[in-house]
């Protein structure tokens, strides 16, 4: 994917998802991972990895749900293993956890796979008219992805925001939250006012003289 289309998707996301919500999700995912770790660290070594994985899933889902609700992002209800999906602007937002390395796990959920089909619009834009069409409202789904190391970590190695292509075999956009947030604070277009202006009296005098002093 070209840098230009990556930048364009970032812009779409930024226009749809408020910065506050991104920061809140980042905080919630960090906090949920910590809670999950602390509540399972005393588990039997034979159970620990499984228990940590499923506890992370539930705690993170709860934390994610709360953030979406607090920001008016209409989350789907918490219910068992079901995915929590919120809606902001034209974008749906959801989450998953992965281990560092290829994200094979991401394709495991049927619901996720179904949702991702909605990204056809973005994929078309990337391949086709490259965001030149302003008529259509941007729609799609973006995932917050907490990436954990191989060991039992109390916190994710990284939290990313990712927009998968339909079929979820590749990613139209994938960036660390810390980097993604930079897009909300791009350097401003600075005016150049450092321009002197000839005084009116000098101009008139020059006009009358019609030459140099």
């Amino acid at each position: 994917m070209s840098a230009k289309s990556s930048k364009s998707i970032q812009k779409l996301l930024i226009n749809s998802i408020p910065r506050e919500l991104v920061l809140a999700v980042e905080e919630a995912l960090e906090a949920a991972a910590k809670i999950a770790y602390e509540s399972t660290v005393m588990s039997h070594p034979g159970h620990f990895a499984n228990e940590l994985g499923s506890t992370r899933y539930f705690r993170t889902n709860e934390a994610f749900f709360e953030v979406l609700a607090a920001h008016g992002a209409s989350p789907t209800p918490l219910k068992g293993n079901e995915l929590v999906v919120g809606q902001v602007g034209g974008f749906k937002i959801a989450r998953f956890n992965v281990r560092v390395g290829p994200w094979y796990n991401a394709r495991r959920s049927r619901r996720r796979m179904a949702l991702v089909q909605g990204n056809e619009y973005i994929a078309e834009l990337v391949q086709g008219s490259l965001f030149e069409s302003q008529q259509q409202v941007a729609t799609g789904i973006a995932f917050f992805v907490a990436e954990f190391g191989e060991g039992a970590d109390p916190r994710p190695l990284d939290i990313l925001i990712a927009v998968p292509a339909p079929g979820m075999k590749n990613w139209l956009y994938c960036e660390s939250i810390s980097k993604f947030l930079q897009g909300y604070n791009e350097p401003s277009q600075q005016d150049d006012l450092a321009t002197p202006v000839l005084k009116a009296s000098v101009k008139t005098r020059k006009d009358n003289e019609g030459g140099m002093s």
């Binding site: 930079q182 150049d192 002197p196 000839l198």
Partner: protein
């Protein structure tokens, strides 16, 4: 009884001694008079004779007539960005240079209008009254007033000049002083002089922001004589620079914990602020504690040494443009010819170029190739044109202290 030319201004002598960082004895030797004579000129008891004045003007590289111009009102006491070891003579030199910047702006200001001054006003009269919250608010107010948003500032020098600051940047030869600033009562606008010696774009942006801090926070505070008071004002200007360049909300969101030097190196290029200044800002914001700050500085020294950082050449120093544009405008409009500027200001071409941000030798004329005087006229080939031949005589002067 007073002898010599009429109208000699002793204050000009004082100013040029400071600007050239010369002692009376040194000047006396250069002019070929006794130190007591210089002392008498300085106290106004005596004025130099016409011939001596020519010599005096020549050695300090100003026009003789300049010594008869009254010194214009001083600025508010300048505030220096410097360490404690900065020599008194060095401060005096920069103070005099800043006065010259004021004079250049005043002279040019007869012909042009500069940008309107737009600096948020604060009325603190004692540094002890200024809280960290005041500083953060003032820095944010500057950003808001100048529509800089909350991201990196593309060009701090331009931001200052847009707000009506007269900015100069020159090599000063004084490593300990990075800049100074003052308010000109005559121009009713601020002046900033930045030292270009370190040639580091990141530091220079911070220096400019630091001076802005002084201009906003300390405008009404009398000159600090007590070292503690001076130190506190420096700390406040530092805090202001950090807040102006790295706003709490947007900068903090981009920090990954735990903080590493490499993550800061990436942000350095984006924000245009050195890693060292970012560490200080993180501590000021309470994102890292004193222990972490020390650890980061320790690692920084171990990896990169104390003075340089990787990527220091990633951003060229920002250049002032207002005075240069003014001179270009006046020349272009035929208000002032190139060769008339030095006469008009009384200063040498080199001084005007350095203080106005003009290229070296810009005022010497457009000819890049200097033709030497012909010793023997050679006949022109037929049809070779009949245009006038120009030639300059180059004087070879004795090797003395040159200005």
């Amino acid at each position: 009884m007073k002898r010599g030319i009429n109208g000699f201004e002793p204050d000009r002598l004082v100013q040029v001694l400071a600007a050239r960082r010369l002692s009376q004895v040194q000047l006396a030797t250069m002019v070929g008079v006794s130190p007591s004579t210089v002392s008498k000129w300085r106290s106004g008891q005596q004025s130099p004779e016409s011939e001596t004045l020519e010599r005096l003007a020549s050695v300090v590289n100003v026009t003789p007539e300049w010594f008869t111009r009254p010194v214009v009102s001083k600025t508010t006491p300048p505030l220096f960005r410097s360490n404690a070891s900065a020599h008194v003579a060095a401060r005096g030199m920069l103070e005099a240079r800043l006065e010259w910047v004021q004079e250049i702006a005043l002279s040019l200001g007869e012909f042009v209008d500069f940008p309107v001054v737009n600096i948020p006003a604060r009325c603190f009269v004692d540094p002890a009254d200024i809280t960290s919250a005041d500083i953060e608010t003032a820095a944010q107010e500057c950003r808001d007033a100048w529509r800089l948003g909350s991201g990196p500032i593309p060009d701090v020098a331009l931001a200052l000049e847009n707000a009506g600051v007269i900015l100069a940047r020159e090599e000063t030869g004084v490593a300990q002083i990075e800049g100074l600033s003052a308010w000109s009562e005559l121009l009713v606008r601020p002046l900033v002089l930045l030292a270009a010696d370190k040639g580091n774009g990141f530091r220079s942006r911070f220096d400019a922001a630091h001076e802005l801090g002084h201009l906003v926070l300390h405008k009404h505070i009398p000159k600090a004589t007590a070292p503690e008071r001076h130190k506190e004002m420096e700390r406040q200007a530092h805090r202001f620079a950090g807040a102006f360049l790295l706003p709490a909300q947007s900068f903090a969101a981009e920090i990954r914990m735990p903080v590493t030097l490499d993550s800061l190196l990436l942000l350095k290029q984006r924000w245009g602020v050195s890693v060292a200044a970012m560490i200080m800002r993180l501590e000021a914001l309470g994102i890292i504690g004193d222990g972490e700050k020390l650890m980061l500085f320790k690692r920084r020294s171990a990896r990169w040494g104390a003075k340089a950082e990787p990527g220091d050449d990633g951003r060229p120093p920002e250049q002032p443009r207002l005075l240069k544009r003014t001179i270009d405008l006046l020349m272009g409009a035929g208000v002032m010819p190139r060769e008339g500027l030095s006469r008009h200001l009384g200063l040498s071409n080199r001084d005007i170029e350095a203080l106005s941000g003009l290229p070296h030798k810009f005022l010497d004329g457009s000819a890049e190739v200097v033709e030497l005087a012909r010793l023997k006229e050679t006949p022109l080939r037929e049809g070779a044109g009949s245009g006038e031949l120009s030639a300059s005589v180059l004087n070879f002067t004795r090797q003395r202290k040159q200005f």
